[in-house]
Symmetry: C2
Subunit: 341 residues, 2 copies
Amino acid sequence: MNVTIKDVAKRANVAPSTVSRVIADSPRISEKTKRKVREAMKELGYHPNFIARSLASQTSQVIGIVMPSSADQALQHPFFPEVIRGISKAAHEKKYALQMSTGEKEDEIYEEVIEMLQGRRVDGVILLYSRVNDKLMKYLQQNNFPFVVIGKPHQRAEQITHVDNDNYGIGKEATQYLIGLGHERIAFVGGNETYLVTADRLLGYKEALQEAGLVYRKDYIIYEEFLQKANQEGMRKLLSLGEPPTALVVVDDLMALDVLKLLDEMNLRVPDDISLVSFNNTLLAEMSRPPLTSVDIHIFQLGYEAAKNLIEKIAKPNEPVKRIIIPHKLVKRFSCDYVRK
Amino acid sequence: MNVTIKDVAKRANVAPSTVSRVIADSPRISEKTKRKVREAMKELGYHPNFIARSLASQTSQVIGIVMPSSADQALQHPFFPEVIRGISKAAHEKKYALQMSTGEKEDEIYEEVIEMLQGRRVDGVILLYSRVNDKLMKYLQQNNFPFVVIGKPHQRAEQITHVDNDNYGIGKEATQYLIGLGHERIAFVGGNETYLVTADRLLGYKEALQEAGLVYRKDYIIYEEFLQKANQEGMRKLLSLGEPPTALVVVDDLMALDVLKLLDEMNLRVPDDISLVSFNNTLLAEMSRPPLTSVDIHIFQLGYEAAKNLIEKIAKPNEPVKRIIIPHKLVKRFSCDYVRK
DNA sequence: AAGAAGGAAAGAATCGTTTAGGTTCTTTCC
DNA sequence: GGAAAGAACCTAAACGATTCTTTCCTTCTT
């Protein structure tokens, strides 16, 4: 079997409890003993058993990452690897390990996360999404498990620590930018309606139109389901309206690429015939042709802050709830131009 | 405190061991008792403690994912989320959880993984890379920890279970495709030289040239460091040779996008002035303009098979070593054309 | 020189399971 | 009718730490 704390204790002629204290570098142990014990550990090639430690100390030093329905699908979207990068960075700094949800359907994930937490596998979780009426979020709150959400919680946002962008402001600025270029017929291409990002950005979009005295037209709003390429109905209809839009606000880069492709097929040139601003500013925005004007939401930082705050919350469960807003920045590239009348 | 197996036992008027057996659905317990115990579990809202279970049973039902130096950097590359998707799928099917390395430097990762395994946090690991003379791989093998590598191990490949593509064949086919289009001056743009993928694909490239009776020129081979945009020296030099290549074999999509960008800056049109075939066929290949001809290596499946085989290996440590080759497929798009003389 | 004070380490309980090895009670069979 | 067999549970010892409590030495004080 493996080398345990007892073996080390025997070798160093001390009690197991002493070895444990040496590992924790307790001031109650003399330097001399510490040296002796450390030497024994080296000689035996001792490695602490995390599992046993977790059981005794009731903490696992692991944080859970919960992706929206289907880890499987989510990872196809560049947003997720990027948030995870941020989370990973913070976790690493604080010596926490990372565990990922693997569930595919919403209910599966719900069960999975509960097992993770109740089973003490993780000390807390980060939800990488925020959706209307989320069952899991309610459960976490009721059972007082440490968690933070990336995005704005649907209900009781003031009671839930979350890291978000000012999506309202983001939607507004992007739209204002297009208005500034003379566009008056601006459409909004959103993703899944039940996610709060979409809703907030739409709100900002509306506000920008209103302030500029432009009409808000329902037929200028469409929702394309995330990653479903077959679903181009809406876009085609939009572009063949009597008065088609001269500019598009597209809810994220990945979708913007889809849109770009479709426009190409329809022989519409960007930005000559139609302008396009998107969000997230992932690598895709830079790589696409033409490079996209996109609002950078600092995805990495979203993840970083989320993890940092979760870890703080785990350490001090009774600290006040926090709301962290990550700044954003419009990055101008080549997908927007002045309107051609 | 939480509901434990003892509480359930008391409630159901049985011994803790009986409850444990009910959880495991042991045939040694009568249906009647099982029903009684299950009811008690429901009533009390019992959830098993994984940590305690792991300690007692000496298995964690978790598999570790090890990314190459810097989880941080790796996740910027679309290959990784995609393998992880595959791993996640298989893990989910077998009820394994997933833990990720967060280390940044090679030594850190080395330590981290050892702690993971020795600390019994994971039952085995998947290495998402294969590099020349990898310290970690040696350690794993010597200590007989269950692991599988994605890619071809540098040494003793026949003793290590691994999942790979036929990178030699892939390099060869891609090159042959270009030769078939009449190209005679074909350059190879590789990534990090210490990764074995690069080496193998290069070998295939050479072989294809040779079979076609074309000369292999050293100045047609360059290595651009992964994700380092500043590093364009090599490419620029290559393109300003007396006899510049008419086609490029680029080692992956992400790099191909960089190359594409550079070509654009230099006013070279793809595929009119220069053809380009790349590898991996990630979303990027499809999304880029022009869409890239790329060899699909079925990344998802690489991950899926790796996880599946690791789990088998954990269950039966003495099964023979396996080598799994995932098939590939050249996907023709619009980045290649007949050579113009 | 006796007793107090305090530092260093040992002892032992605990965390929540699993599992080998008993024990008890019923059934079966000659 | 009594031994043997078998079903159905129970007891108790791990698993490898942490941590509260106790004990054992020193050293200092008066």
